[in-house]
């Protein structure tokens, strides 16, 4: 199953990926990252289709997509 990994040190919590995901798989964490943001995370299992739309809009290259 495809998945994404979010680099919490790079994510600035802008939420753009949550809107870009066609399956609404991404949500924001409710805990701070070490850099002081609420980072994005893959919230639902077996949801990601590996389309990389989130990667396209991510300003901080914080997302890696696996397929």
């Amino acid at each position: 199953m495809p998945k994404i990994e979010v680099d919490e040190m790079r994510c600035k919590g802008c939420q753009l990926c949550t809107k870009a995901c066609p399956k609404q798989c991404i949500e924001m964490s409710d805990t701070f990252s070490k850099t002081g943001y609420y980072p994005a995370k893959l919230a639902k299992q077996d949801c990601c289709i590996g389309c990389a739309m989130c990667y396209q809009v991510c300003p901080d290259l914080a997302i890696t997509v696996f397929k």
């Binding site: 919590g13 990389a52 809009v57 997302i63 696996f66």
Partner: protein, 256 residues
């Protein structure tokens, strides 16, 4: 399972200083991917005049020169004329290019310099703290237009792509946006073409990129997307304004 996305080699592996949601870094990635794909990193120079992207030289893995506010196209002209084998791009914001640097961009375009210009339009001054730009929309508030841009006092927004497309020399002018994944993919195509034109000696190529500036607009990044789509796009329609297949030299040779 393999990673299908990869940070381009032409972009250094560092955290960028841009605010959350800022479109600059997306544009940076698209340029870096283009440099990788065209294998031009070793001969590319980024010209970074004053603005939020003044530190672009810390991010692109190629030679760089930081310049005075607005003078990117003049600096790029000097580099390209002195070293014609180099690939030179000027990366400019809207305060930089459309205000203080208006003469430089217009004349570099008019001379048909074989350079690439990436123009980030977010309708505001970013680095200095949200002052009114030539591209600020009518009614849009800014720290120097607290009641909103008033056309009676401050005139109307300037559409740079349309203006430059009236000149004879420019070969390629397109306005794109990085507000959504499909638009980012389109923006990549435009940016790649603007660099290919330089590699193939076609001539002056210009890509205007609509981008959000949540910090200085005073909205969340997601609300910023709404503003870009609902307010900016009607004023700054996306599209190709000029696309010439031949260089000026080829046209003159053929007597066109």
């Amino acid at each position: 399972m393999n990673a299908i996305t990869k940070r381009p080699e032409s972009l250094l592996d560092v955290t960028m200083h841009y605010c959350p949601g800022c479109g600059h870094s997306v544009a940076h990635r698209l340029i870096a991917e283009t440099m990788d794909e065209l294998k031009i990193r070793e001969r590319t120079v980024v010209v970074a005049p004053v603005g939020c992207a003044v530190f672009a030289d810390k991010y692109f893995n190629c030679d760089s020169i930081q310049g005075p506010h607005g003078r990117g196209p003049a600096i790029a002209t000097g580099i390209k004329r002195a070293k014609p084998d180099s690939i030179v791009f000027s990366y400019q914001g809207d305060g930089d290019l459309a205000s203080i640097g208006m003469a430089e961009i217009v004349h570099a375009a008019a001379r048909g310099e074989n350079i690439t210009v990436i123009f980030i339009n977010n309708a505001i001054y970013g680095m200095t703290g949200g002052q009114m730009a030539p591209t600020t929309l009518v009614g849009q508030t800014a720290t120097t237009a607290p009641k909103g841009r008033n056309p009676l006092l401050q005139g109307f927004p300037m559409n740079i792509s349309e203006m430059l497309s009236k000149l004879e020399s420019p070969r390629y002018i397109e306005r794109v946006s990085v507000d959504s994944a499909p638009n980012v993919i389109k923006a990549k195509k435009a940016i790649k073409k603007a660099f290919e034109n330089q590699v193939n000696k076609i001539g002056f190529s210009f890509v205007e990129v609509l981008s959000i500036c949540p910090t200085n607009w005073g909205v969340t990044p997601l609300k910023g997307l709404d503003f870009l789509r609902e307010k900016m796009m009607p004023q700054y329609p996306l599209g190709v304004f000029k696309d010439e297949k031949e260089s000026v030299a080829q046209k003159i040779q053929e007597g066109k």
